[in-house]
Amino acid sequence: MILGIVLKVPFLVTLATAIFVIVGFAWWWQGRSLQGVTYKRIFHYSRGFPGEHIDLQVEVENRKILPVSWLRIQDDWERGVGPVDEEILAPSYIQDRGTLTNIFSLRWYEKANRSYDLLLRKRGIFSIGPARLDSGDLFGIFEKRQELGGHEYLTVFPSLVPFAKLGFSAEDPFGDRKSRQRIFEDPSQPMGVREYRPEDNFRRIHWPATARTGQLQVKVYQPTTGQVMMVCLNVSTFARHWEGVYPQLLEYLIKVAATLVDEGIHQGYKVGLVANGCLAHADQPFRIPPGRSPQQLAVLLQALAGVTSVVTANFERFLLKEVPRVQYGATLIVLTAVTTPELATTLVQLRQHERRITLLSLAKEPPPFIPGIRIIHQPFQEQEKE
């Protein structure tokens, strides 16, 4: 422009002014291009089993008067829960991850949606996001970048194996249920009142209720023994940890554990789970106490979905530490692919804690006879491999 003024060439002055205005306008535009832009992923389901499909809608909205001339959204995605057409995900420098890329152009206050069909390919807890939004000015001179959407998680449960295949007796798969009567009651947890019967202790009489009704009433307490089942999972696939991991066997162990908890819940047990493995991004063994919430099955399967091959503790020592916390009369299912003499000794010790114990071994060699312990031997076979 200065040159144009000095040389007195109006064309140069006009050209320079136009460039100056355009660049200024472009700079102003790009500064505001991502203001008021929202990006959402809407999953129909957040959990599922391998092989199932989940509908995904990505929704982007421009909540301002200034249009967005171009908008590129690159969403970091796990291939394990990617779209059915794998080529939709652009390659990423991280293994097993890709990028879901969408390009939009939005007018003022416009909302746009795109749908995808996701396929759940393998067990795991998969993180999605964050999304990177790139936009710029009308002329493509400047660019602006922003991260949105945060992390979201999709859970793929382990698939279930047919329960009949596990070798439990069809009639009473998890052992004797001698009595449904309340043998032990917790006096700190009253659950109601009923009429007095001659065999009732006087200490149980609820005097205010008796006065109100004119008839002797006694307190009823919650039972301390219920139908409780605890699945104890050993994630080791070899006797010595330096031998490594047998991935197919580990997957099968997790599938069997999932089948046991599913069957236990359907049989009316309060099911819990302990494992000497750890969840992704954690370094401690996990313990899910037995519960009767409607969400309990989902909680258990979600934990199994996240189990990694990292062994955090020796299984025998782990059992000795964890099992005494389980309530009296509970059924313990010890699930392992490694049976050692130490395990047999540990189970005998645990038997003294008045728990019914079933050992389900997936090891090749049959486990030794352990007095008082029900043993089921179902060696892992080639056809069970993925």
Binding site: R47, G48, T155, Q189, P190, M191, R212, R292, S293, A298
Partner: protein, 311 residues
């Protein structure tokens, strides 16, 4: 009239509850419809304070029942006791014979005791030893339950859940609101005393006015279609009852009236639908396992039904 009195009540309640305009408006919907409210949220966010403040603002009699596992139905309804001096039976009313009843932690009582509220909630009367006693008007049950704890609780039966007009989640205060709470109650946590800003006869008059709020045929049809589609959805095991459709109709009228309108918009129906329907739906186990929640289902249903528009 409804709008101005609602504003007065809201401002009065906000002397003890910071913010929460929407929650207070929803409780007013319950008052205008004479429908019962289920306050469901974690402890310590002001559910009981809200109920007390509402009762005080309305100038109504208020009783609180702390539900426990050994609570008896007669502890709720009252009993006939023998007066030895007079040599006759006398009726001793229970706490339910009050205009506003706070049933605190309702799911801690046995289903038998919970059911003692059924007749009171639906018929606005109680029957003891074959004698029926009418309850004072307006009658409103505000029940609270903690969704986190499950051990030692008895989930409400479907028949009773259906009798609650709305389920309200109070929710945590926002950052600014929490700062205001600390600022307001920095010296002590005693609540200031609340004076009534209306009276029961005025409330009954407001309830009558609410019933005159106009609903176009197309919006009525919209409500019916929402209710019916909850029954046809494969992800829902138990859909909304006709009582739920009536509840949605009335609460949309009340919401419109609180906002100073004498006619209902489709937006009123859309806003009220999650509050009216969510607690009444039973999600199928398969959908529940896959992480579907009732509020998502209601949202999807409401969005899938075309909104009535003018020709």
């Amino acid at each position: 009239m409804i709008e101005s009195i609602s504003r007065k009540i809201r401002e009065n309640i906000q002397k003890v509850i910071v913010g929460k305009d929407e929650v207070i408006n929803l409780t007013l919907v319950g008052v205008l419809c004479e429908g019962h409210l289920l306050l469901e949220d974690v402890p310590g966010i002001g559910k009981t304070t809200l109920a007390r403040a509402l009762a005080a603002s309305l100038g109504c009699s208020f009783k609180r029942i702390q539900f426990t596992p050994d609570l008896l139905p007669s502890d709720v309804t009252g009993i006939n006791w023998f007066n030895q001096k007079a040599m006759e039976f006398e009726f001793k009313p229970g706490p339910v014979i009050s205009q506003i009843v706070l049933a605190d932690e309702i799911n801690r009582a046995t289903p038998r005791t919970q059911s003692a509220l059924l007749e009171a909630m639906q018929e606005k009367q109680i029957t003891i030893d074959g004698l029926t006693h009418a309850l004072p008007r307006p009658f409103l049950v505000m029940a609270t339950q903690n969704p986190v704890e499950l051990e030692g609780t008895f989930p409400l039966p479907e028949a009773q859940i259906d009798r609650f007009l709305l389920r309200i989640e109070v929710g945590y205060p926002s950052l600014n609101e929490e700062n205001d709470i600390l600022l307001r109650f920095h010296a002590n946590s005693d609540m200031p005393e609340i004076q009534p800003v209306t009276n029961p006869s005025e409330i009954i008059q407001m309830q009558n006015e609410r019933s005159e709020v106009r609903i176009e045929d197309s919006i009525r049809d919209y409500i019916v279609r929402i209710a019916r589609s909850t029954r046809d959805n494969p992800e829902i095991q138990l859909g909304a009852s006709p009582r739920a459709a009536i509840a949605l109709y009335h609460s949309a009228q009340a919401w419109a009236a609180i906002h100073g309108r004498d006619f209902v918009l489709p937006d009123d129906v859309k806003f009220m639908a999650p509050h009216v329907l969510t607690h009444r739906l039973m999600v199928s186990p398969q959908a529940q396992l896959r992480g579907r929640l009732p509020d998502q289902l209601v949202k999807d249903i409401v969005e899938s039904i075309p909104v009535p528009v003018e020709n």
